[in-house]
């Protein structure tokens, strides 16, 4: 297939498109697709770990629940087994580990600094399509009741279009840093994400000592 040569876009729309393309490319490198046998498919984010041995993958608890062997499909097409490190059903998060070195971890933003109206992109595996991107903004910052001992958890509302394959995948800001983990859809048209600072605390708790 021959590649047509595209003249570079010019002006502000072109600059916006270039910036978005760079952000998306960076985030896609840190995205994994998780296959959970007959329990379906979700997304995950490569999360940095300090010791550099292997990699962590952060995802939703409901993506890996009930599965015996969750496999991670990487950007290069390889599929490798994962090991479950920790779960927190109350905030729907799970941490997996894979024995593969050199994977690029996602940049993580401090979600406590978020403002309603900021631009966000969701990258995941909706419609069975790896790395698909949808855009919108932070619709609201609020709290949701949980069933466990926490009682409530902070959540991010976004108007980004999500599909089930977005579960566990990243919601990123305009610099491409993860601000949340896309977790559910409410009312058919609002995305709910677990803020990255909640996710970070979960990872730190799970990997302590």
């Amino acid at each position: 297939m021959s590649q047509p040569t595209n003249p570079h876009d010019t002006g502000l729309p072109g600059a916006l498109t270039d910036a978005a393309e760079e952000v998306v490319r960076r985030v896609q490198r840190s995205l994994v697709v998780l296959h959970n046998g007959r329990h379906g498919v979700g997304a995950g984010v490569i999360w940095s770990r300090s010791d550099g041995a292997g990699a962590y993958i952060l995802t939703n608890y409901h993506v890996v629940a009930h599965g015996r062997q969750v496999r991670a499909a990487l950007e290069d097409g390889s599929e490798i087994p994962t090991r479950l490190v920790a779960t927190d059903e109350e905030i729907d998060l799970a941490l997996l580990r894979i024995e593969q070195n050199g994977l690029p971890p996602a940049m993580v933003a401090d979600s406590r600094q978020l403002r309603v109206g900021q631009l966000v992109l969701a990258v995941g595996h909706p419609w069975g399509q790896r790395g698909a991107v949808t855009a919108g903004l932070i619709s609201g910052l609020s709290k949701a009741q949980t069933r466990g001992t926490r009682g409530e958890v902070e959540i991010i509302r976004s108007d980004v279009r999500l599909a089930p394959g977005n579960s566990g995948g990243p919601l990123v800001n305009a610099s491409g840093a993860v601000v949340g983990i896309n977790t559910m859809i409410v009312g058919g048209d609002q995305g709910i994400a677990i803020p990255s600072h909640v996710a970070q605390a979960f990872v730190e708790q799970a990997t302590k000592g």
Partner: protein, 303 residues
Amino acid sequence: MANEANPLIALSDAMAEAVEKAGASTLLVEARRRMPASGIAYASDLVLTADHVVEREEDIRLVLPDGSQRSASLAGRDSGNDLALLRLSEAGLSPAQAAARPARVGQLALALGRPSTEGIQASLGVVSALGGPVRTGRGGLLEQYIRTDTIPYPGFSGGPLIDANGGVLGLNTSGLAHGGIALTIPVGLAWQVAEALRRHGRVRRGYLGIRSQPTALPAVQQQALGREQPSGLLLVGIEEGSPAMQAGLMVGDILVSLAGEPLTDPDDLLVRLAGEMVGQSVPLEVLRGGQPVKIAVRIGERK
């Protein structure tokens, strides 16, 4: 990539600024059971909201952006345009600013609402279409409307549609069109209604006392008018004692303009009479025996 050089970050920051600015003038309105709604600070003691969310005239509760509560009463309502004005007992709101330019198709737009005490909410889209006049599901005639692809989340009715600078483009409501489709009343029209409600407690609609039907204007009559106008309004009836009768209008006259604005169908006349014309003497142009005649008519008020 340096932040200053990344236009995506600049756009993101600008949208957050816009939400913060307009959010400071967006209130939570509790005037019906169960479903909350939003409102826009029109003046320091006045809030414009959608009429269909106001189900009681007293004991209306407002939550300000800072979380404080106020009670308000109904200052006036215009059901036809689905607008209601609420009055606070004390001032203290920061009034919203209208956008510098009216909405344009393709323009970025954000719908804002304050459906709960948790804070402002927003949804992003573009201006999809401009339209009107259209007869509303509430017996009115909406002169213009804006449609967007923003998501009208529950509780957004009565809140503002804003541009990327935080200027108000209009007021969002899902109560105007059949099937609960969200429309936006352009800010020019919304402010005009708000001003009428502030002054009179109602929107006064002009009244001529005629029955008419649209009729095509032959080329020779358009020539006599000195302009291209495909149709006018043929008078087929005049009410006894009405402003039209007092002005000397006759059955068979063809109305072609009111206050300098062409009349091509009955909706044009309704739109023209919706303005602040009641009690004023305005020039009416008619074709009588094929010749243009100017007649002054004092507009009455429709009861």
